[in-house]
Amino acid sequence: MASTSSASAPAHAHGFGPGKLLLNWLILVCLTFSTFGVSQIQMPVNYHLAAAICISVVKTTLVVLFFMHLWWGEGINRIVFLTSFLFLLLLMFFVMADVGTRFTLSNSRIAPLPKIDQTMMPTGMPPGMGNVPQGHSDGPGPSSGKAGEQ
């Protein structure tokens, strides 16, 4: 197991040997603990989200390049993977641009929730759902326009 002799190595071998793979894993574990550590720091939730996503992107890059061999891979495979990520970002960007600026709904940090007469609620409504406005709401408060946030 410990032997990493390259006596039988294929002429076109690519990719890291066990030692460098282990190093990559160690970095990934450190990044996992740093995500955990950052989440314990007191700061606004959007900063937390941004930090978590940034660290996850770094981890993904390490996994894709070295565990999945894209560092040595053919260009076409890189294009396929990057394109799928690009489409993910496009979908995310346009949906969030819409949701963040158009609806207010129950985003109570933006606008107070409208008071709903509980007797008017349909029966069988699960707890926690009681004061969720349905559909498009142009509710009261200084909420419409660009007050929306991610």
Partner: protein, 223 residues
Amino acid sequence: MESSAARKMTAEGWLEPPPLPHHYETEENHKHALRFGMWLFLGTEVLLFAGIFVGYFVFRTYFPEAFEQAGRHLSLFWGTANTLVLLTSSLTVATAHYYAEHGKNRNAFWLLTASIAMGGMFLCIKGIEYHDKFVELALPGKFFHYNEITAPGGPIFYVVYFFATGLHALHVIVGMSLLTWVAVRCWRKEFSPQYYAPVENAGLYWHLVDLVWIFLYPLLYLV
């Protein structure tokens, strides 16, 4: 597989590679095509999970307090443990790929077995977490009866949580099946520097499962 019985053991200690399908000119050509097909498939997998991640962010925007409260009620210990388990299984799969490519089938077999065991461990931990949620009635939609989450949108959080982790767990099960299949073939010494594509492609699938969890872990448990 059916051809493995007819293939001869070489002096190096692995079976001869299966014959090259007639529509490929060279071995290298064949390898590129197999790899390219797998990456295309992984692209569609990214888009499958894209829908779930977009759903997460949309509902998080609608119900920020519920998502924060519910995130705090997930077990940070088990979530972190599962992240480490999956990362380690990715390491063993990547190392198994290295050994299969060098014709060291037995090393690859044991590493793949360890990876499958870690996949099983991941599912057991997930089972413990699901059990807790069922006991607390912290469940999706109309099944939600969990008083600790007071902000509106609690049931929606658990729809996202169970759907995302459930689909991911399904991928873990498929990945474990693929790894079992290639582990058996490693035991039969089928892989060599000329032929190791099944180990590589099963490994790519497993790494993708790891990638999805890399994003799910902080979004569900930490933020």
